[in-house]
Point group: C2
Chain length 203, copies 2
Amino acid sequence: MATNITFHPGAVMQDERAEHLGQKGATIWLTGLSASGKSTIATALEQHLLHKKLHSYRLDGDNIRFGLNKDLGFDQASRVENIRRIGEVSLLFSLSCSITLTAFISPYISDRDLARSLHEKHSPPIPFIEVFVDAPLDVVEQRDPKGLYKKARAGEIKDFTGVSAPYEAPAKPEIHIRTDEVDVKGAVAIIVEYLEKQGLIPA
Amino acid sequence: MATNITFHPGAVMQDERAEHLGQKGATIWLTGLSASGKSTIATALEQHLLHKKLHSYRLDGDNIRFGLNKDLGFDQASRVENIRRIGEVSLLFSLSCSITLTAFISPYISDRDLARSLHEKHSPPIPFIEVFVDAPLDVVEQRDPKGLYKKARAGEIKDFTGVSAPYEAPAKPEIHIRTDEVDVKGAVAIIVEYLEKQGLIPA
């Protein structure tokens, strides 16, 4: 039986955890229109961090909408609750010293600001890095990999962000990436450089 | 700017993640009466794993009830939803290759079985290790660090597990610890040994 059990009374402090694990936690909140490149960038960034042996986890529609938030619909209250829960879970992941990536359209400033405030009002505050994944509507509408814009234009999808529902662009995102001008590799490099400069990951 | 960005198309596979990070994920679900020792064991186990530079995170009342689940009350539907969400979040943490610890009374077999099924029905399945943190009622009632049993006996707290609400003991927990017979160090050693034998953490 293991005999080398060491511990002290009380919960693990945040700086103690970061020291043991050699990394700090942070939430990288990607926001932008459908087909702007959020999931592609998040997936590539997650891989890059894992290759560096850094813990990172990506929350997106696939693992949230069919799991934690499968009880939620698409009415306004559900929309707010959807983003609130994602904000809470991303905070928990970042507290565990993971680089947490979220890839949701999250079109409303108020919803994103709630997620931010959960991080910034935490004691100690946890970095919340809002990344505006930006491409003009006509560009994403031409990409339209799932045919969603076409359906929205045909009226088959209601309240579709950019077509029949607003997208409120971030006023002061920590990072602004134009995906019609920068490729995936370039986008990942921009975020990695930011994380390094902030001392969140080793340079 | 970072120029060594590497990635492949598509999401990170579970075995790829485990290989990069040098650890697998698993959920260790502690269940037992109030004051049975769940939080104490979870806190000590978390510290032990962090000292070994293994990612681990503990979900408990403090970080769940005041965050993700602060919208929930204590009626039966809320109780089920509380454990469902904890099950979903612990699955996400374990998918990120963290050793995830949950410390909730979780008195009902059906609730715990739902949490288990989320893990075991996932593709690939994620280990779900139910730990029965067991001490006789008269022992925990004597400990009563927060005076909750006293209040429950006085009728000041309703539906209190073990006093005025049932505790359904696990029929076949992966691990059974009698905390009136084993101290915290011993309890942690039992769980660590199990994790090592299962190949979930390095021996």
